[in-house]
Symmetry: C2
Subunit: 672 residues, 2 copies
């Protein structure tokens, strides 16, 4: 495999079969030179003493030649040692690493890092999914901590950024050509200096054939009916309170959903005052959606029944699928095949199913007394974990359009749902929780389209090796390296966050406020302590705290008492009233240095009157800049916060959530 055809340059040099030939070659190349073993059996040359560097005389070359031959014979007696390559030594440069890998979740990916400790000890590398653009390449370089070494560290001349981008694009080209046979390619290292490079070592592992770069289109057929079905059959309906099959029936039949509900249970003629049917075939003909809470071995027959009845929508709540491995995994494959063949869309198994903000249809086995349903709103959520979905739903006071817990995704997956939600007129913001991808590339390609239309926030867990392993037994997929996900998410324009709390915060901010024009925040508060904690975290959240303009400072100093501090953050002290906040926020909104207005409140401080609700409402109606409030506290703080949110201004009850919200609103401006 010749990497030079992709434009990579190897050091000048040639092959010598004996010490004299090597010495003559070295003289022609000019000293110093390097000697390297050439053998089809040796992959790690250094480990067997197969490399000698910096040899600066003919005599030295002869000695080094002998040492290499002896050492390789001794350490690897079976290796065929045919020749030794004599090479020019490179200028003293910086060593970078470029790699191509075939990732389990995403297929061909590219890696960039610095040589030595940066990669091996610090794991300071960045990833992207192939293909990449030159902009992707630039951001890969920008992401690594060691980049300062490329910018002229300790008086060295900086390495040309364009050369590095060019190298990454060459590797991109190589990766695309090799995609179907790619196992791994390691340019490790490439010496780079100024605008030059030389590949000092390259290992290429190919395999007979593989998937390469797959193209898989999302399938949105029939998805709408999961949310708008006019009648639902519950297969496995139970008359026993506390049972899953009872709770789902209660959720559907006894609350806000106005469609028909048909309990299916062969042992009962009536459940919860409703007529029960022995099987799906006997249920009324207008059945549009089936919810199943029965052993997975019964599902294939159920899909056939559904198809025969003209039903295209099935939610399988029951678990016991591939998370247990073995035969059960095979059962899920069968469900998948059958669903495709009979055009029955399947959500689950191992999930809590769906919820629609408008039709109020939900398939949850969490009864109303235990779990709030959010009001109708603009946020949609899709989640691999029902548990995380529940936490999100109960915090979604901002309102939701649609919700899907898709569990083991035997059929309907993230990409299908994302594509559907992109077209959904009720949805303006999408939140995702994922533990591991099955078809990562399908998801990314879809997300890349969708994020052009609507902001999509994602929280990906299963990051650590142990966490990823837990994700395996949970839903049957390997979580993979989080660095690859981070790079992929960035390419796709996804707003990535680090906890459920941040996922909720980002969705809330995007639902209630306009996006920001940049990352420059101004804070104002009657409690300075929280400001200090926020400032500590600004960099982590890609935010900046600029100085206020002189006009802002002047106008504030004119109108505030002398013990208020008119800088950023503005400190209006425990004496602040709602009018003090109004004065400050008006000035901040007018300040050209500021993109986001972030008031923090100690609502408990007695001087702060409840006129603040009206002040925020009025400012929010006229401000072109987003307003994000923060506060911490007990019942009173929560009550005032709710009153403010009812006016469309979000309040975040923790410093980190507050900052995550600001990051989400400035994410797209930051990317441009």
């Amino acid at each position: 495999m010749d990497y030079q055809r992709y434009g990579f340059i190897a050091p000048r040099g040639g092959i010598a079969t004996g010490a004299d030939e090597a010495a003559a070659l070295a003289t022609r190349l000019g000293f110093p030179v390097a000697l390297k073993i050439v053998s089809p059996d040796v992959i790690h040359k250094t480990d067997v003493g197969g490399v000698e560097l910096g040899i600066d005389s003919e005599e030295g070359v002869r000695e080094a030649f002998a040492r290499i031959v002896n050492s390789v014979h001794e350490k690897m007696p079976q290796a065929r040692v045919e020749d030794i390559r004599v090479e020019e030594m490179c200028e003293e440069g910086i060593e970078v690493i470029i790699g191509l890998n075939n990732d389990q979740q995403f297929g061909p990916v590219i890696l960039f890092g610095l040589g030595g400790v940066f990669t091996e000890v610090l794991e300071d590398v960045s990833f992207r999914v192939l293909p990449i653009t030159p902009d992707d390449a630039r951001s890969m370089i920008q992401e690594i901590k060691g980049r300062v070494l490329l910018e002229g560290y300790r008086g060295q001349r900086p390495v040309s950024r364009n050369v590095l981008v060019d190298l990454l694009m060459k590797a991109n080209h190589m990766g695309l050509e090799l995609a179907e046979r790619l196992d791994s390619v390691d340019f490790n290292p490439i010496a780079v200096w100024e605008d030059q490079h030389r590949v000092l070592d390259c290992k290429i592992l190919l395999r007979p054939s593989g998937a390469g770069i797959t193209r898989s289109e999302p399938n949105t057929a029939y998805l709408d009916t999961f949310f708008k079905a006019k009648s639902v059959a519950v297969v496995g309906a139970s008359a026993t309170p506390g049972k899953v099959g009872n709770a789902i029936l209660d959720s559907l039949a006894k609350h806000e959903y106005e469609g028909h509900v048909y309990p299916i249970n062969p042992k009962r003629t009536e459940i919860m005052d409703m007529p029960a049917y022995p099987d799906l075939a006997s249920a009324p003909a207008d059945t549009e959606l089936v919810v199943a809470i029965v052993g997975l071995h019964l599902i294939p027959a159920l899909i056939e029944e559904a198809a025969a009845k003209g039903v295209h929508n099935l939610v399988i709540v029951s678990g016991g699928g591939k998370e247990l491995g073995g035969q059960r995994e095979e059962l899920e494959h069968e469900i998948k095949r059958q669903a495709a063949q009979l055009e029955v869309r399947v959500i689950g198994p191992n999930c809590i199913g769906v919820f629609d903000g408008k039709s109020r249809l939900d398939t949850f086995f969490q009864v109303r007394e235990r779990m709030l349903r959010p009001p109708a709103g603009e946020v949609a959520m899709i989640t691999q974990s029902g548990t995380v979905g529940i936490a999100f739903l109960e915090d979604a006071s901002f309102g939701m359009s649609k919700f899907v817990s898709y569990g083991n995704r035997a059929d309907v997956d993230e990409a299908d749902l994302l594509s559907y939600l992109a077209q959904d007129p009720d949805t303006t913001v999408i939140a995702c929780y994922v533990e591991g991808f099955d078809q990562g590339r399908k998801f990314l390609e879809t997300a890349r389209q969708v994020t052009r239309e609507k902001p999509v926030v994602i929280f990906k867990s299963g990051r650590s090796r142990q966490g990823a392993q837990a994700a395996v037994s949970h839903t049957g997929f390997f979580g993979g390296s989080h660095k690859v996900c981070q790079g992929a998410f960035r390419q796709a324009g996804l707003i990535d966050v680090d906890s459920i709390e941040e996922l909720v915060a980002a969705a809330k901010a995007l639902a209630l406020q306009p996006e920001a024009q940049g990352p420059r925040v101004a804070m104002i508060s009657n409690g300075a302590g929280s400001m200090i904690q926020a400032i500590d975290l600004l960099e982590e959240y890609d935010l900046m705290l600029p100085a206020l303009s002189p006009q802002t400072i002047e106008s504030l100093e004119e109108r505030y008492p002398p013990y208020y501090l008119a800088h950023n953050p503005v400190d209006v002290t425990g004496s602040a009233t709602s009018q003090d906040y109004r004065i400050g926020m008006e000035a901040l909104i007018a300040d050209h240095n500021i993109d986001l207005i972030m008031p923090w409140f100690v609502f408990q401080d007695t001087p702060l009157d409840e006129g603040i609700v009206e002040v925020l409402s009025a400012l929010s109606h006229t401000s072109p800049k987003p307003i994000l409030c923060g506060a911490m506290g007990g019942p009173y703080t929560r009550r005032v916060s709710q009153a403010i949110e009812a006016q469309g201004v979000p309040v975040f009850l923790g410093v980190q959530e507050w900052l995550a919200a600001a990051r989400a609103l400035s994410y797209r401006a930051n990317r441009e």
Copy 2:
């Protein structure tokens, strides 16, 4: 300043005044050699071309000599170039850095790191406050990421850990001797290999004299009265609702506190149906505590009045002190001097004052309708920020013994309070929030004593440069480098956390559960999603997830249905009942591989019956291992969680808080 007297070894070598002498010296030393400029005017030798390395011939030495002289003359014409030092080159080793600094908050401190990019680019260094023990030295080495390089990276022989510890102890000795004149000492770098070392460069900056290692004893005189005063005078009491001076009066006079309250206001004869007094002198003679809400310029006279009346306790709520700089800073100094002289203990200014769980005395200007007061309990909190204190108090359902917001600490500081609380029989756990220290060393010395008796948790903000600057204007102190604080806290045995939420979580866990024997957690849940997120974070929280013992697995598999997963974490699925949790937790408590029992609950899942409250209560009474619960959700989840906490088992409503609690309980076992 000769560092060799402390046992550091310089490379062999000598001084040469001419090129020939240098060449002769080099021959005697053996090649290769290094040449280094010797000049009183040159501190950074490399910058002026004053160092040449790896010279391997007499001729080379002569040429290098000339190059150095020319280069220094050219780049620094005014520098006196007297001699050049010729030195042996060191074996190829690893370069480490040892530094001594005089830190603004803590005085003399010591730094350890690796040379080059590790220190300069990655800031991969560890700090401790002098003096250190060999154990401190070992943990300093253990803390840096680059330590793998010391353990035999890329086939090099490992560097002896004992030699590194010995070098740090030599520097410790040097730092202690020089303490009063210490500005900075930089051993940068020291080459180390196997059990050898050579100091390759050392810069020593001393100053005429300074504080050195200060000893300042905490002063607990009269502190008890802040919490137990039988009568309180409020200077600046106001009749206008919404004013600070009105709210404090309300807090003291109209709720649970049973002592006498005396409003002081020269313009009123009655406030809130109580007789008002024109000044402190006129107030009843049994006054024990004064709370002041008046301009700071009035405080010196007030302290005199208090002293004349035999009152030793003053809380100054008003701000407007050193946070505004200038003359106001001087005013605070005067208050400090006067308080010491007249034996009036002062808390504040710029604070919300004190609260006592038993006497129910509080000085808060946050009225009851807006801010909950916690029940009596075992946790004490001291805080520099009133805002943070308020958030803590409203979350302290576990109960509190004492609370102090000390603000600008003109007199009473963290160390005084810590020392007092160590002796307080009502307090078993202490929580601290600090933005910056005035007398860092006094705090540490005190904390080191106190943490032997009671666990002390600390959240230190003002970590970033910008955050620290904000702390300056807030309370007038520079926050300083957080790395120094981390090292210092570790030395003192303080449990450090990273947010208010974690501070509350750690305090709650320590108040309600026994400490753990180690960091090995077992999790069990009916919602696997939260487990995956927790596992991702285990390492960050110094926790481990061991395999369960074969007996545990066997007994669980025997008693659980086949679709429950009997590994760690135990997955009891959405079908779990309280009895399933009981069975699982009993097995985990009996498992010798496990130190902490961590159930996570999706209380919303209908099969999970409320018998869980009783199950947890019973297990908690008999388990020698701590039990920490986690859950997320809305009103029902909060209600069940409260019922469980009423049984003494803490429930944490977020994954990070849950883990922070586990880290706090295993912190002391981990340190040993």
